[in-house]
């Protein structure tokens, strides 16, 4: 393979968001270094400003349909990459805003916290554009590096340290699997770029290689059976980091899964559909059943996140253009509901200092706003209409029914009922039980902003989803040519369960 490194100005333009954000990262670091007396909130707002400018740049790309590929197809900027970059930046902005107050709990390196968050985001932006196995590997490790530190940021807290160590060991293990998988795939096909693998033959080496890669990405999205790090890490990590971890890496890993399954492995769909159906069923069922027994809200959200990923995998198992539309839409809905819920958790733990579900007793009396926001977020996660989560689930189910995945759908639907049960446990604590300490809860302005954004997203996407469906339909146009022959052939070839 020969890489030509003749970069023109227009090529650099495609990298503009990443280049800009890298420079901005350095600026934040320098500002933190040269003026140590500067209040750390200012650093947060400075980071947010940089992210917003990047977001604006991406929006400009999207409107002007700027796209292209660099470095021999290692880096692509297509509509889907732009969608996921916007998604990751949005999540990062909300996470930084919800950290502003929380950061005071850290004893040291408060300024570096923001740098690390933005650095991880930068890594994930590269993931969104990564179009071959090597660039996936490098960008994946780059973003995870930031997370290794962030998870263990509460230096004096044992749980946080434990979370950091667990996340690190399992993360490194996953990276090893990934590297091994790449070597096998490269050995069998001689290719690293996804779009050039589609003509590969199914040899044992290739199958094992892709299984290893799937395992490593499964680790990132936290699908069963690669989920074991999730509960402890979510529980121990600083809550804003948990929130970040629960959404952004999942989005970044899913874009790679979409590229692998729908581009590189498109011709093997009748085979991998069984793998995805199995992982999806196990994730949903395990996540939802174990969530029932949780006493800690962060663990509850961790398990509910595992179950939500099971739902997303339904869309991937459908393996069509519509399925990928549904995944993108579902992630949008999940972004607002999940980050909103975590923002409420942060606000409550600022006031109470704990994250047990028991502490949500009578939240409605203490802060009707927080309780109502949490209610809507949980109902959206459960998929109650007319909130965003409902349209997301509906979209995914319609895509899967169209492919005849009836077993998967049945399990998914029963899981909705199970999930309703534990979401209602929290609702009951907030609305029915009387508070032990009835003093009102004060909410800081940045957190309030995050909650308002979450509420607006959850309601607007639910009630007027058309602009968002249009957006995701356009973002996945690259899959439409592949889907047409497969979709007509499918009903006769694949009937899982039936």
């Amino acid at each position: 393979m020969i890489f030509s490194l003749n970069l023109s100005f227009s090529d650099l333009l495609l990298l503009l968001p990443e280049i800009f954000l890298t420079c901005w990262l350095c600026v934040v670091l320098i500002v933190d270094f040269v003026s140590p007396r500067l209040p750390k909130e200012q650093l947060a707002y400075l980071s947010v400003a940089g992210l917003v400018i990047t977001l604006g740049c991406l929006a400009w790309f999207d409107v002007n349909h700027i796209s292209g590929a660099l470095f021999g197809n290692m880096f692509v900027l297509d509509r889907m990459a732009i969608f996921f970059k916007v998604f990751i930046l949005g999540a990062t902005i909300l996470v930084i805003l919800s950290s502003v107050e929380y950061v005071n709990r850290f004893t040291l390196f408060r300024g570096e916290y923001y740098v690390l968050v933005v650095m991880s985001a930068l890594g994930m932006m590269f993931m969104a554009s990564a179009n071959d196995l090597l660039s996936v590997f490098v960008s994946l490790e780059f973003s995870t590096l930031g997370f290794y530190i962030l998870v263990a940021y509460l230096r004096d807290d044992l749980a946080s340290n434990e979370a950091g160590v667990k996340f690190f060991i399992l993360g490194v293990f996953a990276a090893g699997l990934f590297a091994y998988g790449i070597s096998l795939v490269y050995g069998e096909t001689g290719q690293l770029v996804f779009s050039e693998m589609s003509s590969a033959q199914a040899t044992p080496g290739l199958i094992i290689g892709f299984l290893l890669i799937f395992a490593a990405l499964g680790f990132k999205i936290g699908a069963v059976p690669f989920h074991s790090w999730i509960p402890d890490t979510y529980h121990g990590a600083p809550t804003p980091v948990t929130a970040f971890l629960s959404i952004a890496p999942k989005g970044a890993a899913l874009v790679i899964l979409l590229r692998i399954f729908l581009v590189a492995l498109a011709s093997f769909k009748p085979v991998w559909v069984y793998l995805l159906v199995a992982v999806s069923i196990v994730s949903m069922t395990y996540g939802n059943i174990v969530a029932i027994a949780q006493r800690n809200i962060k663990r509850l959200l961790a398990y509910s996140g595992i179950a939500q990923i099971g739902n997303v995998l339904i869309g991937l198992a459908a393996g069509t253009k519509m399925g990928s539309d549904a995944i993108l839409f579902y992630l949008l809905a999940y972004l607002f509901a999940n980050l909103g819920a975590f923002a409420v958790v942060i606000a409550v733990s600022q006031a109470i200092g704990k994250d047990e579900i028991e502490d949500y007793r009578g939240l409605n009396r203490r802060s009707p706003f927080l309780a109502f926001a949490m209610l809507l977020f949980l109902l959206s996660l459960a998929g109650v209409p007319p909130l965003a989560g409902f349209i997301g689930k509906l979209y995914i189910f319609v895509a899967a029914i169209k492919e005849g995945l009836y077993t998967l759908i049945t399990v998914g639907l029963i899981n909705i009922v199970i999930s309703m049960y534990y979401y209602l446990i929290v609702v009951k604590q907030m609305y029915i039980n009387e508070p032990i300490d009835p003093s009102p809860i004060r909410i800081s302005a940045p957190i309030k902003t995050v909650i308002y954004v979450g509420l607006a997203g959850t309601l607007v996407i639910g009630i007027y989803p058309q602009p968002f469906t249009d957006w995701v339909v356009e973002a996945t146009l690259m899959f439409s040519n592949f889907v047409t022959p497969a979709a007509t052939a499918l009903p006769t070839t694949v009937h899982v369960g039936g």
């Binding site: 209409p385 509906l394 189910f397 169209k402 639907l413 029963i414 009922v417 049960y421 029915i432 058309q466």
Partner: protein, 519 residues
Amino acid sequence: MLEELTAGFPILSCILFLPVVGAAVLWVVDDEDTVRSAALTIALVELALCLFVLLRFVPESAAMQFTERVPWIPALGISYHLAVDGISVLFVGLTAFLTVLVVIYSWDTIRHQVKLYMMCLLALETTTMGVFVSLDLILFFVFWELMLIPSYFLIKLWGGGAERHYAALKFVLYTLLGSVFMLVGIALLNINFHEWASLHHADQAYSFDFLDLLSVPIPVSQQMVIFWLMFLGFAFKAPVFPFHTWLPDALLEGPIGMSVVLAGLKLGTFGFMRFSIPLLPDASKSETVVTILVVLGLCAILYGAWMALVQADLRRLLAYSSVSHLGFVVVGLFALNYQSLQGSLLTMINLGFSTAGLFFIAGFLYSRQQTTQLSAFGGMAKQVPLLATFFLIIGLASIGLPGTNGFVGEFLILLGAFEANWWFGAVAVLGVIFGAAYFLWYYERSMLGPLGTAVRVTMSDLQIREMIIAVSLSVMILWIGLYPSPFLRIMNGSVQALVERIHHDQTAAVGGPEIQQRK
């Protein structure tokens, strides 16, 4: 002309969203009395709007009227489509009517968190209206699911029983379980439309619209699958025997207002009549479905009546009598002829007056004795003659005495059932006898005879607000009982079209385009 003035005015949207907007307005009101009067005003305005729709409704027509239709999520073929026809328009009026009465009833019986209660009640009204007026299946499903949330809070926060937490959760999870299967059925309908549309190169790839789905043929085997999926949704909600176990708990533990809505508005059987039967006529008339559904209905009639016979608690008795009455409705629906369908529809409306009325009576008794157990009653007719009289009138309507509304409905069902198959009718008639037995026996033990030991001597008779409720219910009962033809005329067109669709051909339109009050 008034018609021209109102054409294009989105009156159904107003009806749909007035209560929930009102509920949002209540949020800022602090004073409890203001909350009560504001809620009553909203409910009355809503009732006035519904009466206007009923008066402007063109009877003897199968057409969908007051149609409003705009795309909502075009990518999935979901539209915001509201309309009423002869099947749904009466429920719209009934919902508004019952909500007014519940607000009046709750005036002094709800003492804590009045504002939240009224907000939940109004939100519940919006969602119920939504179920009746939606003609897009997803829109319908949205309201169907949303209904659970205010109901959950109503049962949990204002329920009287010790088991109310359990009852609320059971209610939500049971209904949700049924409705997720219904959602699969709805999605299959959409996929079927999609396959047909791509075969015929239609402009629209996906549609959840009721009228679009009606126009597309569905293979019989697929109709059966969809029918049973939707059956689960409607059967849990109705509830059809043997899916009824949440009902006694919810009705016993919840507040009276909630029980009135739950028992008075027969959403599940409405769903059968609105969606299942017209969309899936071949499945609905297949022998398997008819046999199973009618047998379930007959079982419900007998089981409900027997269980009601031995209940000592009035609210439990009413819960089982609801199950029994729903059995009649189901038998009527699946006897599938003109009389039986008309009877079923009328009976659903009637139950909104009689069963809901009996729950109000139970509420009146509860606020006097703090319980609805038989042991607390006895010989009360001497103490509270007015209450006893209205109890008798509404109760006789519920058992179908000639001259009351119950008679007209049940008679039509029995007529249709005999016509369909004589033994359907024969078994159903037994239910009428049992029904008379459990009600009259309970009435005798609670109201007649010597004064019960637990009855307080200083008990007052009906107050002015209670009189308003009892009298307005009785007027409706006697009106439908003695002069039902205005109501039957409203239903006729749609029921006729439904029968034609079942028995003749797939293409007979249930909602013909003749009279469309389009913008």
